[in-house]
Amino acid sequence: MSNHWLDQLLITPILLPLLSAALLVFINQRRHQLKFTINLLSCLALLVNAGALVYLTDTGHWPRDIGVYLAANWATPFGIALMADRLAAMMLLLSAVIALAALLYAYARWSRTGVHFHSLFQFLLMGINGAFLTGDLFNLFVFFEIMLAASYGLVLHGFNAARVRAGMQYIVINLVSSFFFLIGVALIYAAAGTLNMADLATRLTGLNATDRLLLETGAAILAVAFLTKSAVWPLGFWLPTTYSAASPPVAAMLVLMTKVGVYILLRLWLLVFADHAGVASALGGNALLTIGVVTIAFGSIGLLASQELGRMAGYSAIISSGTLLAAIGYGQPNVISAALFYLLSSTLAVAALVMLIELIERIRKPSAAMLALTMEAFAIGDAPEQDDSAGVPIPAAMAFLGLAFFACALIIAGLPPLSGFIAKFSLFHAMLNPYGLSAVTADVGTLAAWLLMALIIVSGLAAVISLMRYGVRTFWATESTPPRLQLTEAGAVAGLLFLCVVATVQAGPLRSYLDRVSIGLHHPADYTQRVLSTPTVPGVVNPEGSE
């Protein structure tokens, strides 16, 4: 432990949003320029921080490339440990990128349609970052609740009847799933006597049969909570309604939140329930695969049936969750690595799509009657005029919208030349050669793999059909005046799509990085040893009784 200053980078993604959110609460809503600046600075700092963590976890700065931060300097199994490996760092970077885009998008209108948008936004980031970094199950619950509480506020942001109705259902479902989370955590504690994930993984082998059964029950109940968050088939009916009701920047953040559930499943299952070969998880691997397959089918049917773009984006997110879960259930390192590529590409594309929706809707109805209502409800004095100085309207708006929509559709459907195609192609490649190309096995993939591939292709077809139907109807079949787009709004969408293009061009280096991520995940022993062997920092005041 040479340089403790760099270890602080693990706690700043949690502390920074907390402090800026607290600061933002006290600034009057009229000073939205100042609030926006603080929020933007915080997001930029988070981006730099996440970039630094990605760099540090990939260059051997920390032993085994995992950074560990002991909160309040308590020794590991007793205190809460924060940890960052390559996966956590990558997810932090993704969340910072999407947050930045959502914030830029919100600048022109949405951040001013109600109070405390910026504080809630920062609290949401704090919860998401905390969930990525924590190494303790109960602490994970706390960060989940912070994230959810902020998201309740944000879903209701820009208060109207549709949002209140969707928000009410969203809150009930998440409250109930939080109860499941607690029951699962309590059962795991009762069985294993620990909530530290690394400690849990090491204690698992020493458990007797009764405790083991209790622990697996707890894990299954816990999984229900995460699966609800990632909106898989029987638990995901809330998602399309919530997505289409929420304001666009908030919907983009919700897209990210579904990936938090996937992230936790990936981490916990490979860490705790992987067998000793470190490959497919013995418990629930097949269940995850089945749920994933059914979810893809459900999402495709929903996608074909929806007429509204908001619901289409929701079902695309469900398909994306399903594909990821099926890949996690499949479990081989190179399948996971391909799935991570898919995660990056689909998250960016769906986030871009939900923000694009509102811009496209302006072709049809340029008014903002709803805006006036909330202004009145919250008694906000300086209503932003429709075309004030918040950015410059961009020329060629129709061309931009058409191209951006086309790019989103290509990525979501997985057609060449953009990153969606590369993601799906490498996923198929990995499923057909689960042990790598060099392995001399003559098998041509299992039945499950073929079924999954067929479904993924069908889901792509469903996306093509429904998105193109919408696109033709909107861009070609209506005579419309070009809408006014603000530079910040178009810039946010363009930025996300640009990152997808970068992922396409730089697919080779990105894939080799993701291979390293996946291999790290498949060596849980590294993780447990690293976390459990981290010494407390000497020379500072130690808690009473811990030497």
Binding site: A161, L175, S178, A186, L195
Partner: protein
């Protein structure tokens, strides 16, 4: 004692589930409250039931764990109570807002057509 607590939690949880599935928001929030009581009790007893045992020790040196109650579930349940309370209060606000905006207390925001 275990069986009494187990039945109590089961009754609370069962009533909570039934109420959450009802169509009126007031029933739903009552159900959520019952569920949260059940879950909090459940976490609490996961540290095993014991009578007259302190959760903390002030003594130095090695101690006998059998003489003390497990403090961790007690700390967990405290956190869970606070968080559950806050989120339920938030739901109450949304419930009132929905009642005010839609004029009905049905969870769908409109009365079902009979």
């Amino acid at each position: 004692m275990e069986i009494v607590i187990a039945i109590a939690i089961g009754v609370l949880f069962g009533s909570g589930v039934w109420l959450v599935l009802r169509p009126r928001t007031f029933q739903v929030i009552t159900g959520l409250l019952l569920l949260s009581y059940a879950v909090n009790l459940f976490i609490f007893i996961m540290g095993r039931l014991s009578i007259n045992l302190p959760p903390l020790t002030l003594e130095k040196g090695p101690i006998d764990p059998a003489l003390y109650a497990d403090p961790v579930p007690q700390a967990l349940v405290l956190t869970a109570i606070v968080i559950g309370f806050a989120t339920t209060a938030l739901y109450l606000v949304v419930l009132l807002a929905s009642r005010g905006m839609t004029g009905t207390d049905h969870v769908e925001g409109r009365e079902p057509e009979l």
